[in-house]
């Protein structure tokens, strides 16, 4: 009898520690954050004042917020192109054995390496590469006679966001390639051989077998990519801190600056809540799409 009871409650016992941690450090703060977003307060003062949706009103009237949101969307779109589409195609090429095993491993390692570097290192590295005149890019442009294309990449409003976004692609596309390679390698080789005997070329094999075979993985990796794009903070903060003139501001940096530089904590909490609902919406879409199978 006692053993039976134990067996029944055992799963809950195992779950309890992690649930406790989740509630204490994720769910409770998330709810608390939503409450904070309805107050006007500051971290250096003890008084706080209920203001209802004033913080949200202020937020939606703030052009920097909209600029940040647009930048996050741009981040997501470009990341999908690189880290999902390009990564999938490159992974398929690498798995297909177009290159020998040696070259394949070399490419895979080379693509993967940036992802193990700390973001701060990557940020500083690319700051150097983007430097006007002495940076690698400008040097190459001058050397090839394309100096007309030269920009102060991180200093001009027109180029700064895309420059930072491309650094993220450089860092993470290889990582995604490796994940896609694992998914592709799980597809039975027989399927490719059967289709090959039916006269399919590599591109037809990709569309008839690889794509449907990695559909699930693609969906999940796409969602993770979008999550990452909306939560991005570190690389932007290291490289530009949202500047110049808020041109590379994203929701993450906007929130951080509001909370820790401008000391408008209620407003920052409202930004955090908006990020939360965007990612929640994306998550719900994912679950819907997955259920369709």
């Amino acid at each position: 009898m006692k053993a039976q009871t134990l067996r029944r409650i055992a799963p809950y016992l195992f779950l309890f520690p992690s649930l406790l941690l989740l509630v204490a450090f994720v769910y409770a703060p998330a709810v608390e954050n939503m409450v904070y977003s309805l107050f006007s307060w500051s971290s250096v003062r003890t008084d706080s004042r209920f203001v209802g949706f004033d913080n949200y009103r202020e937020l939606f009237a703030n052009p920097i917020f909209w600029r940040s949101l647009v930048n996050n969307v741009l981040y997501a779109v470009i990341s999908i192109v690189f880290q999902v589409f390009f990564a999938l195609v490159l992974a398929a090429v690498l798995v297909a054995g177009v290159f020998g095993p040696l070259l394949r491993n070399l490419f895979r390692t080379a693509f993967f390496l940036p992802s193990i570097l700390p973001v701060t290192v990557v940020g500083l590295l690319w700051q150097l590469i983007y430097q006007p005149t002495i940076g690698l890019i400008d040097q190459v442009l001058w050397a090839t006679g394309l100096q007309g294309l030269s920009h102060v990449w991180l200093g001009e409003e027109a180029t700064v966001m895309i420059s930072v976004i491309l650094v993220s692609q450089w860092q993470w596309t290889g990582y995604m390639i490796v994940l896609f390679m694992v998914a592709i390698q799980a597809i039975p080789n027989d399927l490719y051989e059967a289709l090959r005997m039916e006269g399919a070329n590599r591109i037809q094999q990709f569309f008839h077998i690889t794509m449907p075979g990695v559909r699930e993985s693609t969906l999940i990796l796409a969602i993770i990519t979008i999550f990452g794009a909306f939560k991005v903070f570190d690389i932007v903060w290291v490289m530009t801190a949202g500047g110049p003139n808020n041109a590379s501001e994203v929701l993450g940096t906007h929130m951080y600056r509001s909370a820790f530089r401008n000391d408008v904590s209620g407003y920052a909490a409202a930004v955090a809540t908006v990020i939360f609902f965007i990612t929640l919406a994306v998550g719900i879409i994912q679950i819907r799409l997955q259920r369709q199978d």
């Binding site: 039975p188 027989d190 399927l191 059967a194 090959r196 005997m197 006269g199 008839h208 449907p212």
Partner: protein, 354 residues
């Protein structure tokens, strides 16, 4: 017409030779079965024919045309895989028609061909299903259907029945035999199961370690195995093989002396279980032994008998035999029932030669 010819075909993986200078002819409308133990190179040979593996040496011709460098899709062959290799996201109809669609056939033709094939294989009701909604036998039929739709010069099968349960395997075996007749097709079929080989084949190719041990009709292989390997591999239960010695006039062994004249020296005597008779008979080699086990299969039974020195013999008995384990049994073997293999394992002679 579909005539396949292999000359000195060789396949090496690095330093390992898996197919070793092999010659084979497959004639139009023939059902040829490649049989041999696991790892002997059957799949590799089939894949060389299919164009899925490069041929390291020798020639492959189909209808007189050299095929070594022709890509798989243009050899006019269709292959049925052991795993079935059905495309999981396509319906049965799409699975069967994907090759035609890639070839750019028009829709009406495709529909006619799929419908015709579905009729032959009784798949009409399943055309809109996905593979995961099919049973093993149904998947198997779809895989065969996918091959039929392409109207290939030669069908290639790699252990197509080994993922099925025994009852279904028998049913599909009959179906394959029927299809072979109905389609008047040329088929090359790989299996490690000698029963499948015996029942399906016009001709059997027995392979061992990348070489051909013997090619022949099922009867030839059964009646006149070219060597010890084939003798042991073809037939179930196995042929009894007993070490013996020839003095030039007769062969003597633990199970007796046989008046067979072959060259002097150590030899092996082979006797099929059904060629050993109960009792002591005039003009035959007689022996006696103790029954170890009796296996009753209904239509017949097999007794495992320990002869004088402990040599085990398998003996076929009638289905409803009264013989029990532990009994002492007299046995006789006629001289014509014994096959003699030389020290190199090759068939020596069988006296009298019928």
């Amino acid at each position: 017409m579909s005539e396949l010819r292999l000359r000195n075909a060789t396949k090496r993986f690095g330093a390992v030779t898996v197919i070793d200078g092999l010659d084979l002819d497959v004639h139009d409308r023939e059902f040829v079965v490649l049989v041999g133990p696991s790892g002997c190179g059957k799949s590799t040979l089939l894949r060389m024919i299919a164009g899925l593996e490069d041929i390291s040496g020798g020639d492959l011709t189909i209808d007189g045309q050299r095929m070594n460098e022709v890509p798989a899709a243009r050899r006019g062959l269709a292959m049925v895989f052991q795993s079935y290799a059905l495309y999981p996201h396509m319906t049965v109809a799409e699975n069967m028609s994907v090759g035609l669609r890639i070839a750019g056939e028009d829709k009406a033709t495709i529909r006619t061909k799929v419908a015709e094939t579905a009729r032959i294989l009784q798949l009409e009701a399943l055309l809109d299903r996905k593979p995961k909604a099919l049973s093993g036998g149904q998947r198997q039929r779809v895989a065969i259907g996918r091959a039929i739709v392409r109207n290939p010069r030669i069908f290639l099968f790699d252990e197509p029945l080994s993922n099925l349960d025994a009852a279904l395997r028998l049913q599909m075996r009959l179906e394959l035999a029927r299809l072979h007749g109905e389609l008047a097709a040329t088929m090359i079929y790989v299996t490690h199961d000698q029963v499948e080989a015996m029942t399906l084949a016009d001709r059997i190719v027995v392979m061992n370690a990348g070489r051909i041990e013997q090619i022949g009709t099922p009867e030839e292989l059964y009646q006149r195995p070219a060597n010890l390997f084939v003798a042991g591999f073809i037939g179930s239960p196995k042929m009894n093989l007993v070490a013996a010695r020839s003095d030039g006039t007769a062969v003597s062994s633990a199970i007796g002396r046989f008046p067979i004249q072959v060259a002097e020296g150590p030899v092996t005597i082979g006797v099929r279980p059904e060629n050993i008779v109960i009792g002591q008979h005039e003009g035959m080699t007689t022996l006696s032994g103790r029954v170890d086990v009796v296996e009753r299969l209904g239509a017949n039974s097999f007794a495992y008998v320990a002869a004088g020195d402990g040599t085990m013999l398998t003996v076929e008995l009638p289905g409803m035999t009264r013989i029990r384990a532990g009994e002492q049994l007299d046995l006789s073997i006629g001289p014509e029932a014994a096959t003699v293999f030389g020290p190199d394992g090759a068939l020596m002679g069988r006296v009298p030669d019928r």
